[in-house]
């Protein structure tokens, strides 16, 4: 489990995040929602340790997150960033292979690479140079890489190691068409079924409704609402979160209800 306790992040005098608490439990899918500038990505970056000068505490399995060695973390915690810039002409399969870097077995993982690329539907692109792929294709290649980090439970963790696996996704479906969007979220489901704790920062409320177990809504750096997925079918919550007028909020709430029932 990852527990975020009273997390605050300041940039100058401004609080990007203010006293945010949340938890990431094995097997559960948490969607982090909110308007632009709410601090969603900042929260994710704190958990991935990309931001390390935060106030408050983040505990990974009862030890402070920053105290875990980077390599151990990399074998249990995989992060899919919002955007990856790669202009050098690596082939797609080489990019995916880098996901095995924490284990050092890139050259012996042909089968795993193939499976991962099949799962995200990029196996047919394996020899194409990464910079020439479309935005969506690149995202799926990155996802395959990220998943490879936690593809299997880490049997070498030992009792002192990290026991669970965690997957952090930062708007990983933003460039994808609906078919691929749902395929990816189904993939995340499969990982969750295996016991992986999944946190996904999202923009698309409907997608969250169709996928998440738990919801965390941030607004202006603070927690607006957190709880079960039913939260999304409540019009007043949506209205407050996104500053929508009531009619629009109710419409979205109804749609989300349908997604909830669709599951």
């Amino acid at each position: 489990m990852i527990q975020v306790k009273n997390l605050s992040v300041y940039r100058g005098k401004k609080a990007i995040l203010n006293d945010v608490s949340a938890s990431l439990v094995a097997g559960k899918k948490l969607a982090v929602l909110g308007p632009n500038g709410a601090g969603k990505s900042t929260l994710l970056k704190c958990i991935s340790q990309e931001i390390s000068d935060y106030h408050g505490d983040i505990q990974l399995e009862n030890q402070s997150l920053s105290e875990w060695p980077a390599l151990q973390r990399a074998r249990s915690l995989a992060v899919m960033p919002q955007k990856v810039e790669l202009t050098f002409p690596f082939r797609a399969h080489q990019v995916v292979a880098m996901g095995r870097a924490p284990y050092g077995d890139e050259n012996q993982s042909d089968e795993l690479i193939r499976q991962a690329m099949l799962c995200t539907d990029v196996w047919h692109l394996r020899d194409r140079p990464y910079p020439l792929l479309s935005g969506g294709e690149q995202q799926r290649v990155q996802l395959a890489r990220v998943l490879l980090q936690i593809w299997q439970p880490n049997h070498d963790a030992g009792r002192a190691g990290i026991q669970q696996r965690y997957l952090l996704l930062d708007e990983c479906t933003s460039a994808l068409d609906p078919a691929h969007q749902h395929a990816i979220m189904t993939l995340a489901d499969q990982f969750a079924d295996q016991g992986v704790a999944v946190l996904a920062v999202m923009h698309d409320v409907a997608l969250a409704a169709s996928w998440a177990d738990e919801i965390l809504i941030l607004k202006q750096g603070e927690v607006l609402a957190s709880g079960d997925r039913d939260l999304l079918s409540q019009g007043d919550v949506l209205q407050q979160a996104y500053d929508l007028d009531m009619a629009l909020a109710s419409q979205y709430a109804r749609q989300n209800q349908q997604w909830l029932e669709f599951r």
């Binding site: 990309e50 960033p81 990856v84 790669l86 202009t87 050098f88 002409p89 690596f90 880098m98 020439l132």
Partner: protein, 358 residues
């Protein structure tokens, strides 16, 4: 069918890599022997092999030909290999850290620091730096150039590192600023220099492998060979860094420590090279590009290939420098520029062609 498709992923790359590196190594050995066999004084290959054998067993000098090969050409060839390899690999490392195929080790201030120190010794050896010349004797210039290279690189690194985090953008800006300052100081020294000093400076800045002595070559071994042997371990970090430092640290790499070691290694190799041989440009830019076009951007192949190609290229340039206008000796940096400029242009046009056709 699945097996065939799987096999098509990696083995094809490995096969071509082995073939190409094999070719490079053969070319390299050929060039080494050619370098020992060529020069203003004509020499045949059997003499070269004999002398090499003598040198390896440490036999006494047996003839003038033997002496020419062992005392004049061999040190030069060894210097060419070490400096060429060092400059090429430093180029690869710099391009990886700055995530830019146009990056050059000069960005981290190594060359400008060395140049400033060298020019200072040339111009001030009779006045302000007389104590230095007294202290270090004939090694005044190379030692000063090396220290200058290290000092300026360290300064730029410190400026670009905030709270223990080296930020590439800051590093770049610091490099630009410091390079401007060292350039200005060098300019002032140029202004007060007399004719003879000006000529010395000009020749130093054109680079030459003719004046390396065995103590300097031993220092080169230390400063170039050791980093060269240690760097392949960082191939995977360099690969990951190309996707950004965030991704690299997500993958479990020690990014800050890695960047420091990589930058230090690059500074050491280039600093030692420039200190001993003066400015030799283009290798750090052209060789990584060439190797990337031939072998792809994976550093596990790029680093060793660049090492071999850089050494071979400088051997070739030095060979031309010695024989083209014999008995005069052209500065090798000049030959590199004459070779490097058109080659770089060719690479650029190749790049444009491939971008247009895709």
């Amino acid at each position: 069918m699945q097996l065939a498709r799987r096999l098509s992923v990696l083995p094809r790359v490995q096969f071509s890599f082995a073939w190409q590196v094999g070719l490079l190594v053969i070319t390299f050995i050929f060039l080494f022997l050619l370098a020992l066999a060529s020069g203003p004084i004509s020499m045949d290959v059997s003499q070269v092999l004999q002398s090499l054998a003598n040198a390896l067993v440490g036999a006494d000098i047996q003839s003038q030909a033997d002496w020419v090969i062992r005392e004049l050409r061999l040190p030069r060839a060894v210097m060419a290999m070490l400096i060429g390899a060092g400059l090429a690999v430093a180029g690869v490392v710099t391009q990886g850290i700055f995530r830019n195929p146009l990056a050059d080790p000069g960005l981290i201030g190594v060359s400008s620091g060395a140049a400033l120190a060298a020019v200072a010794v040339i111009v001030l050896s009779n006045s302000w730096l007389a104590f230095w010349v007294q202290l270090t004797g004939t090694f005044a210039l190379p030692l000063a150039a090396f220290l200058g290279a290290m000092a300026v690189s360290l300064l730029i690194y410190r400026l670009g590192t905030i709270n223990g985090q080296t930020q590439i953008a800051m590093l770049l800006l610091a490099g630009v600023a410091i390079n401007v300052i060292t350039g200005a100081l060098t300019g002032i020294l140029t202004y007060v220099a007399d004719d003879q000093q000006l000529r010395s400076m000009t020749f130093w800045s054109m680079g030459s492998l003719a004046y390396g002595r065995w103590p300097e070559i031993s220092a080169l071994f230390l400063c170039v060979l050791l980093p060269l042997l240690a760097l392949p371990k960082f191939s995977r970090l360099l690969n990951a860094l190309l996707m950004g430092e965030a991704v690299a640290s997500h993958l479990g790499f020690q990014v800050q420590r890695g960047k420091f070691i990589l930058l230090a290694a690059a500074a050491l190799m280039v600093g030692a090279g420039v200190a001993v041989a003066g400015m030799i440009g283009f290798i750090g830019l052209v060789v990584p590009h060439l190797m990337r076009l031939m072998l792809g951007p994976d550093h596990r192949q790029l680093l060793p290939a660049s090492m071999v190609c850089g050494a071979a290229l400088l051997l070739l340039a030095d060979l031309i420098a010695r024989t083209w206008l014999a008995p005069a000796d052209i500065p090798v940096g000049l030959v590199m520029a004459i070779l490097g400029g058109p080659v770089f242009l060719l690479l650029l046009m190749q790049q444009i062609k491939t971008v247009r056709s895709s």
